[in-house]
Symmetry: C2
Subunit: 418 residues, 2 copies
């Protein structure tokens, strides 16, 4: 008998029939003698519908109260847990639903992007001890003051992993609408290969760079807590999917996959004034402190200081949705940033090659540049790290770049060559 956490995303519970299908998977595991905790997201487009209601009430996103948005959005998952529990009960198995608060998911009070602070799982433990399937609302938590919070994008994955860690689960199954983690998005690359396993680190980079199969924060949480994750399909449950674990299954030099992120915008700041020499980075430091406080993630941060010029240049990417807040922030910090000239690019694609020890593999960098050059695909920015190489190109070239790189490194047949 194992203790299992199973998470079903929005597409897996999009309608009543799909909820039944998911319930069958849950009941099957319980019938095999396992202790099952299941985490569910809001049904299909519920969250979008709720957001559109809020947009009608308060058109300007900056004016929408984050506390009230959490109050609103938390209802989506609550509907799902009630229906999922009824579906399980109708199949003859004991089950009980739990809101984030009831499941003991205690968070900090930053609405919309709250981080989990503590897990108080005694109610869930009692439920499991009674032989019930515990059905927990993903994406939500509660503060010490009983304020409802949400965990931000991919929050249901985070709930599932945090529960798996707190309950000491043997594994955490993330059920979704794809069969696992692929070498590239199968909607772009028809012969992309499904990885039998991938390391936490590789998955983290893939998620951080646009692979939508799992959220980066939840992968990090799984890594920190050594929770083995299986990404698998609700609609093809016999497929074991992809195992995410610390075990290195792929050979050392392998490229795990290629991701493509179309949701980023790049921001370039050229400081026109002479920034105080003794504290040249003070303004930039203030900027990033504020970005962190606002829960806005940045990527591909680069600072250029031309030796012969007093000005400096700062470049980074953010999610497009954060752009209004970032622009407002930069305006408020203009003086300490040297009254910068701001350039924003939203029509971009970020293509990332993820694998181990890429810094030791200049041939990967060379190969990427080679195929993009041969195809006359423009490269606006490049950043490389130990685990990945990311290239910013124009949005219209994104898919083609993924296809060419996937082909260049022969990722479809598993015999990766660099």
């Amino acid at each position: 008998m194992a203790r299992i956490v199973q998470k079903f995303g929005g597409t897996s519970v999009a309608d009543v029939n799909k909820i039944r299908k998911a319930a069958e998977i849950v009941v099957k595991a319980a019938s095999e003698g396992h202790e099952v905790t299941t985490v569910v997201s809001a049904m299909g487009h519920t969250t979008d519908h709720l957001i559109s209601l809020a947009e009608q009430i308060t058109p300007t996103s900056g004016e929408r109260n984050p506390r009230e948005m959490d109050m609103l959005l938390a209802t989506g998952e609550q509907v799902s847990i009630a229906l999922m529990t009824m579906a399980i009960q109708t199949m003859g198995h004991e089950a009980k639903s739990f809101t984030g608060a009831q499941a003991g998911i205690i968070t900090e009070s930053r609405h919309g992007v709250a981080k989990i602070q503590e897990m108080r799982t005694d109610r869930l433990e009692s439920s499991l001890a009674r032989g019930e399937i515990a059905v927990v609302a993903g994406f939500q938590g509660v503060t010490e003051n009983e304020e409802l919070t949400t965990l931000g994008r991919g929050g249901s994955d985070t709930t599932a992993v945090a529960l798996a860690a707190a309950l000491g689960a043997d594994r955490c199954d993330i059920y979704t609408d794809v069969r696992g983690v692929y070498t590239a998005d199968p909607r772009i690359i028809s012969d992309a290969r499904k990885l039998p396993s991938v390391s936490y680190e590789e998955m983290l980079e893939l998620a951080a760079t646009g692979a939508q199969v799992m959220n980066a924060r939840s992968v990090e949480l799984a890594m920190d807590n050594q929770v083995p994750i299986r990404v698998r399909s609700t609609f093809v449950p016999e497929d074991v999917g992809t195992l995410i674990t610390h075990r290195v299954a792929s050979p050392e030099y392998a490229i795990a996959g290629i991701s493509c992120d179309m949701n980023s915008a790049s921001v370039t700041l050229k400081s026109l004034d002479n920034v105080n020499e003794s504290k040249p980075l003070e303004g930039i430091s203030a900027l990033f402190t504020r970005l962190q406080e606002l829960g806005i993630q940045t990527d591909m941060v680069m600072v250029l200081k031309h030796e012969d010029e007093p000005s400096q240049e700062l470049v980074f990417t953010i999610e497009k949705s954060a752009l209004p807040r970032v622009q407002q922030l930069i305006e408020s910090l203009a003086l300490s940033l040297g009254n910068p000239l701001m350039q924003v690019e939203t029509d971009i694609a970020k293509v990332s090659v993820v694998g181990r020890r890429l810094t030791n593999r200049p041939e990967v960098v060379a190969g990427v540049f080679e195929v993009l050059h041969n195809a006359s695909i423009p490269v606006q920015m490049v950043a490389t790290g130990d685990m990945r190489m990311s290239v910013i190109t124009s949005a219209k070239h994104g898919r083609e770049a993924v296809r060419l790189i996937h082909q260049r490194f022969n990722l479809s047949d598993g015999s990766i060559t660099v």
Copy 2:
């Protein structure tokens, strides 16, 4: 400065524009310097939609888990409070939303029909003290064990009145889609007259016999706590509506109004066996104890014992929706009820004349019989009490009976004659 509770029903918050309209009423009161707590129901047909989802998952109503139904239905009001709060904030006023749990509405654990046990309003008091408009989810509460509960039909009215009592509010305004309490349903009787005021007792009888403007339980709660209620229209807020209070505004002999209930079913039990002489009512007592435990309300209960026969006859009415549970219950108690023959009528209308001291006014009873007889409208059952006279007729004659009685007592012009 007064302390006011304002409640907006489902039709008053049916869409985004109506929520804005309601928010305007709330903000106006707050701007006039009043301390405002507002209670909102689920938007329009939200509850019906949620119930239909549950019906798809679990078709048999008796098998639907009451705890999970509460978990599901409570989301409807939670959406409303978040949107209402955002609407108020967008108009520039401070506001904060509260679930039933956050508002401190502690209930017993009978899911679906939970009664309020205690009000812990310290969080609301703090919110009001900060100058915020407190926006509270109607219809829901929480048990000591943090289980979500709902208060049953008309639960949002109950929430509003209970809050008004606990907060020591000066008045409780129930905003709805009609302008007040009428002498009869204005959709049936075009010249029905709006009552300027009505006593708690009269309103209680009207509500209990099918007037849908307010829920009987909440009227009772208002009466017990001496909370003055104003029933008024969200869409014509300048109309002061009808005041419900202990003050007797109408003359002693007046008929307050006529209600018509199409949602009742009658149950007749004819005991065929000789019921134990020493305890002739034991079975009936057990039946009504169980009905009470199940939260099923009965009306027009009559027991007939024919002197020359060993059998007895029991008749009562219930809500149609409770019929499957009642039938099942009677089957389980068949032996102690003397293996009764059960007859059920669902195609009925209950027409009630409500007024003070009707028992002292046989001419009211006479007048009702007179018009129904003249119009050849069949009368299946009659029950009279101090405050009302109810007649069961066939469903198709309900409206006509209301019209004829309304006309007979000249209720349209206020100069009531018996």
